[in-house]
Amino acid sequence: MDLSSYLLVGAVLFVAGVVCMATKRNGIGVLMGVELVLNGANINFVAFANYTKLGLDGQVISLFVIVMAAAEAAVALAIALSFYNNHLTIDVDQANQLQG
């Protein structure tokens, strides 16, 4: 397979993640969208790592992405739990106190 097929897979994941973020009212669902976006990017990195001179750097960056995603998930989940504790719901549309 060539590079572009992998990139297309990454693009699909990315778009799915964006749509997930934009449509899910459940906070955890939004989080899953973020994971999808990150994973799409990851596939791109690893694909470039394999097919171009990027080499090891691509894999290293994808590892960083994975680690940062774990950190992000932990914090986001903590925020979600805190939100749930305060609002008794996980609907992110309820979190609109900052509206103009």
Partner: protein, 207 residues
């Protein structure tokens, strides 16, 4: 169709299908299930891309760790069993249009680039573990022998670059980012633990 192609199509289909299923499902737990399917299959794609360490890390950290955490969060925040929060159809329709446009944009970008030329111009195709100094592990480089070079890179050494023929300068590794990432992770975990502590619940009528 070669084995690689076959496996690619299988994994790609599962990955994309899982991702789309995540979007379309309204039940959060099922979303999590589909997400697992999608991410697990993308780990398979990583293996296909000779990135065995990244793939394994994806399985261990992402699927085995992060997603368990997410599922845990789902269960902690579910108001009732199998709860659903419906999105309005109008929003879904709008999102679908935007998604279609975005996918078209990305896809056309990918297809408009002549990757063969790019790959050729960047002296690509050289596997990571080309240099035989890196091939002293047990496995052959073609088997995705990336554990040692990745470890060296995280320690700040780049033998894959510096020992290649014709290189004159020393490349920088990833020791500093690695350390920053570790400290960052620690800080994040402490912060998350602090945030997630049970606090006094504010009743809706009070707020």
């Amino acid at each position: 169709m070669t084995g690689h192609q076959f496996l690619f199509w299988v994994f790609a289909a599962v990955t994309c299908g899982g991702a789309i299923a995540v979007v379309l499902t309204q039940n959060v737990v099922r979303m999590a299930f589909w997400l697992i399917v999608s991410l697990g299959a993308s780990a398979g794609l990583f293996f296909l891309l000779n990135a065995d360490f990244v793939g394994t890390a994806q399985l261990l950290v992402y699927v085995g760790g992060t997603l368990v955490l997410l599922v845990f969060g789902v269960m902690l925040t579910a108001s009732g069993p199998f709860s659903k929060m419906q999105t309005r159809p109008g929003e879904l329709f709008l999102a679908g249009i935007v998604a279609f446009l975005l996918l078209g944009l990305l896809g056309s970008s990918v297809c408009s680039v002549d990757w063969d030329r790019v790959v050729a111009s960047t002296n690509a195709g050289q596997p990571i573990t080309t240099h035989h100094a890196l091939n002293q592990g047990y496995n052959r480089p073609e088997e995705g022998n990336t554990g040692h070079p990745l470890g060296m890179a995280f320690l700040g050494m780049r033998p894959d670059r510096d020992l290649a023929p014709g290189t004159k300068t020393l490349s920088t590794g990833y020791l500093l980012p690695f350390e920053i990432a570790s400290v960052h992770l620690l800080v994040v975990l402490i912060g998350a633990a602090y945030l997630a502590r049970a606090k006094r619940r504010i009743h809706p009528n009070e707020s």
